[in-house]
């Protein structure tokens, strides 16, 4: 079942096309990677899908609903993590979670506290609960930021470079979390610059200069690039997704 669909989605900034006629169809319960060089339009596309930015042309449909006409209904289904941590540095982990939980409509105090404690446990933030964000390491700040996006139990989770700058151990933890969310039926759209992460996705969208340069499963894209000569037995570096990416974004 299609959960995110874009039709000729375009965004023009000062005469330049940041996103150019993007046609996407993302199935439910998938982890979809969004990759592309810096300035390829990943964040712009994500922000348009979240309703944070108005498109110049085209349409976005979420769960069969038109985004422009059903913005608040759709925003209830979405959990968005911007590129920045988007937290309040002067507040504690708990205070940030409580605030964003309330903003996203989790008004019942008991329920919100239960959700917060659950996420603190899942993301290994229990001991940091009462610490101010500004005092935390980058890894803990990012964990808090991810937790804030999950509080209202969204169906679709849109994460803009959630693992950037994190050490490998935390990245693995994050990916385990994302896979766990997928197993709960969630759909995850995740932008990344790490090709090994893109390789973990069910499908990958490759953007280049605002245009769709490739869309499909990692192996499908490998085949597209390397043709039928693609051979799983070949050395990893030759068949690596990084080479697929470099080939498609030339």
């Amino acid at each position: 079942m299609e959960i995110i669909k874009t039709k000729n989605l375009s965004k023009r900034y000062n005469g330049n096309l940041a996103v150019d006629s993007l046609n996407l169809s993302i199935e439910k319960n998938r982890i979809v990677g969004l990759v592309g060089p810096n300035g390829s339009g990943k964040t712009t596309a994500m922000r348009m899908i979240c309703g944070l930015l108005r498109q110049t042309n085209g349409e976005v449909e979420i769960n069969g609903l038109n985004l422009s006409r059903n913005l608040s209904k759709i925003q209830e289904m979405l959990g968005y993590l911007p590129q920045q941590n988007a937290l309040f540095p002067d507040l504690t982990v708990y205070e940030n979670l409580y605030y964003f939980g309330a903003v996203f409509g989790v008004c019942d105090r008991k329920l919100l506290n239960r959700k917060i404690n659950d996420l603190l446990e899942k993301l290994g933030l229990k001991d940091q609960k009462k610490q101010r964000i500004e005092k935390l390491s980058g890894g803990f700040q990012r964990r808090t930021a991810v937790a804030c996006s999950l509080l209202h139990n969204p169906e679709i989770i849109i994460l803009d470079e959630p693992t950037i700058g994190l050490d490998p151990a935390i990245r693995v933890e994050f990916w385990n979390l994302f896979k766990g969310l997928k197993s709960q039926g969630k759909t995850i759209l995740i932008s990344t610059h790490y090709m090994e992460e893109a390789d973990e996705c069910d499908e990958v969208i490759i953007l280049n200069r605002g245009k769709l340069a490739g869309f499909g499963g990692p192996d499908e894209l490998r085949k597209k690039v390397f043709g039928n000569v693609y051979d799983l037995s070949q050395t990893k570096s030759k068949n690596s997704f990084e080479n697929v990416y470099l080939n498609l974004t030339k």
């Binding site: 108005r54 925003q75 968005y80 590129q83």
Partner: protein, 355 residues
């Protein structure tokens, strides 16, 4: 040497940051010139120069000759004279209600002319230069006796005159400065994007900001009110609740302006510069320190429709003159209108940014 290098690099970095976002710097550079222009245009002859001070002469029907002679004596560029019919009982009401600085009631006492002058003693210009000039002109001829009657019992002094204005500018500054940081900081941190991705409407977010800042501004106003009363013995003649309500209404338009600056500004520095660029000139031409009557007519016309002027006048009306809600409804109306206009402006700018 190493430390000096670090210090130098830090200084260079600071200047680069400022120069690369020059709008804030430009505002600060232009500000003193603006103040200079404001002062130069608004008070060309000094702060307490009298020109066209509004004065009313009361004519009770029997003293037409007296009225004409008083009018002749005082006619000059210093006074803007109005003649009204009535008796002395309405003189006080007239001075207070129609904003005349002085009310003159000439009478005959035997062969002597006795002139009662009702003075709006809440206004230092009326109490000082205007009364002195008028008295000198009237006493120029022998046989004219002048008796001063204060419109208000209390002696407010210049601090008393300043006090309501200081409350108003305190609220203006806190509203402008706190609210101007309100959105820009969240925008820089990215938390605004997260908030806007929530299913709550934009107005809810804005109203929350308004409420938070209104409380802050009102608390600051209450503290100044208490300090004036305790430290300077300034009496609060009217209802204290009305003063607090006025404080809330004073904060509203400035919070809106600051939020607009906060959305337009590209950095915290720039947003605050915009806010202060608005606040500082307003402070000087809204009758906080110097009566608007000192200003030339064209500036006075502008000054009289500024939100801070409405607030200062209404606060003076309640704190000093002890007037009630119905007397200052004009101020509530004007401040509400400004608040609504700026709120709409904020929403429009927000929506435009989203495009």
């Amino acid at each position: 040497m190493k430390y000096l290098k670090i210090i130098w690099q830090n200084i260079v970095k600071e200047y680069l940051v400022i120069i690369r976002k020059p709008a804030g710097l430009i505002f600060w550079i232009v500000l003193p010139f603006t103040i200079l222009v404001v002062f130069g245009v608004s008070f060309p002859g000094g702060f307490l120069e009298i020109k066209r001070a509004p004065v009313v002469i009361l004519e009770d029907g029997n003293n037409q000759v007296l009225v004409d002679s008083v009018k002749e004596r005082i006619s000059s560029e210093y006074f803007s004279i109005t003649i009204k019919k009535g008796d002395d009982s309405i003189l006080r009401e007239l001075v207070a209600g129609e904003n005349y600085m002085l009310g003159i009631y000439p009478t005959m006492s035997g062969y002597d002319v006795k002139t009662f002058i009702v003075v709006d003693n809440s206004n230092p210009l009326a109490e000082g230069p205007v009364l002195n000039t008028l008295t000198n002109k009237l006493k120029g001829d022998r046989g004219v006796f002048v008796e001063r009657i204060n419109l208000y019992k209390e002696d407010f002094g210049f601090v008393g005159y300043l006090f309501p204005g200081i409350i108003a500018i305190g609220i203006m500054f806190i509203s402008l400065n706190v609210a101007s940081m309100g959105v820009i900081r969240e925008r820089i941190l990215g938390s605004l994007e997260r908030i806007l991705s929530a299913p709550s409407p934009l107005w809810l977010f804005l109203i929350s900001k308004y409420l938070a800042y209104i409380v802050l501004a009102s608390i600051s106003g209450i503290l100044v009110l208490a300090a004036g009363n305790i430290l300077f013995n300034i009496p609060i003649s009217g209802s204290i609740w009305l003063v607090i309500l006025l404080e809330v209404f004073t904060a509203l338009p400035f919070i809106g302006l600051a939020l607009a600056a906060s959305i337009i500004g590209k950095s915290e520095f720039e947003s605050q510069a915009i806010a202060n660029f608005i606040a500082i000139p307003l402070m000087f031409i809204s009758g906080v320190f110097f009566p608007v009557q000192c200003m030339p007519n064209y500036i006075r016309t502008v000054a009289e429709i500024l939100p801070l002027t409405f607030s200062v006048d209404a606060l003076r009306d309640v704190i000093i003159k002890g007037l009630g809600y119905s007397d200052i409804i004009y101020a509530f109306g004007a401040l509400s209108l400004y608040a609504l206009l700026f709120f709409i402006l904020v929403i429009l700018i927000f929506r435009k940014r989203k495009k």
